[in-house]
Symmetry: C2
Subunit: 209 residues, 2 copies
DNA sequence: CATTTAAGGTACTCAACGTACCCTAAATGG
DNA sequence: CCATTTAGGGTACGTTGAGTACCTTAAATG
């Protein structure tokens, strides 16, 4: 079961030795597969090299260390997908978006992301690359969109469109994770965040009534 | 500067070879020192052993692996100190407590805590030990205390005393960290969290106006 | 076709975790 | 007070995995 199933290119005029982008993609694919199967801890450079039918040397020519490859492979694996829900009510939208975040974080992919965040430590370049995925500006923008729509419908006062308000539900969800020790919260908790905090705050920010 | 300053017990009848609790404390102290000086990554078992004038064997008889020793040493180092502020106003209390949390997280000790949280991965026993320090129930209890006092003063409606409300400022502060990429927020951000979110929410939760 | 560039192969260094083994000081208890 | 058990000390391993050195060889380039 070594690494023979991918070497099916001995027949034609296809080059026997890959180069440049083709090789790079193969390495990223191999690394992403390792990430999925064995997690970041199990993604050793030797295994990636064997799986991509190449050698560590070639990998280190492209990425300076394992963490960098891990982050690159994660991005190759993720290709983030955030769809802004549109249910017609602020409450419905909020629940949907919060549920989406919850699902992502509690998925194996969320576990990967956490491992990688731990692994990059404080390298700002890698940190930035990771944050821009998954957690970053896309999510905040989505919440601001929800709020703007609610304002347009007359469901919320204009003052509610505020970055601090937008980041609140996700922040509370993550707080819930550290509280529970597991990156997953039941729907009742999501509803509580929306009904007990998010919506009251949106309304409480109405001009001094 | 190896490890000679602690070996000042050759004169009397004190035993030449430490045992049990004495030895255990010495190991924890050495490990805690390593944590302070070199961080968790730099706390190698060999260095701890040398610093405690003992050997790895003895350490592994007490802790099953490095992460466990790290957590134990952190606890030995921390001995958590949360003091509930009492400034006379809810706003003042909230700012003080939030500032306290911010200071802790941005201190070297906070960096340690983050490293350890990453290192224990998903071991529930160690995770529990860490969480009960620093971040855990003590902090939430402090916030509930603040809220109760505010209610007693007539500053807030009774509905405001709610665990989800209590956990909010800390959650937002941590959200700010991931946003900024560094575990430290300026006072203006703390004030914004309190004035733009926390206090409006506390008021917005008044019985259906 | 000659030369340069980059991939392949392999062996190696180094650090660090965790373990095995044997020796010896300290406690225990008859 | 001595014999036995217990636990610490010393040291040398086994193992894994990151990152490097160095040479060989295929592919691109002109």
């Amino acid at each position: 079961m070594a690494a023979a199933e991918e070497d099916v290119r001995h027949g034609g005029s296809t080059p026997l030795r890959r180069r440049g982008p083709a090789l790079e993609q193969a390495i990223l694919q191999a690394a992403a597969d390792e990430l999925r199967e064995s997690g970041y801890a199990g993604m050793t450079m030797d295994k990636v090299a064997r799986r991509a039918s190449t050698n560590k040397n070639t990998i280190y020519r492209r990425w300076p260390h394992r963490a960098a490859l891990g982050v690159a492979a994660y991005r190759h694996l993720a290709e983030a997908q955030i769809s802004v829900p549109d249910t017609g009510t602020l409450r419905g939208d909020a629940l949907a978006l919060l549920g989406q975040a919850n699902a992502t974080w509690s998925s194996p992919q969320g576990a990967l992301l956490r491992d990688l965040l731990a692994a990059v430590g404080d390298d700002p370049r890698l940190l930035g690359l990771l944050r821009e995925q998954a957690d970053g500006s896309a999510m905040d923008a989505a919440w601001l969109t929800l709020l703007s729509r609610a304002v347009a419908r007359g469901e919320a006062p204009p003052e509610a469109v505020h970055p601090r308000v937008a980041s609140l539900p996700i922040a509370l969800l993550r707080g819930e994770y550290t509280l529970r020790g597991a990156p997953s919260a039941p729907d009742t908790v999501l509803a509580e965040i929306v009904d007990e905090v998010f919506l009251p705050l949106v309304r409480g920010r109405a001009p001094s009534h």
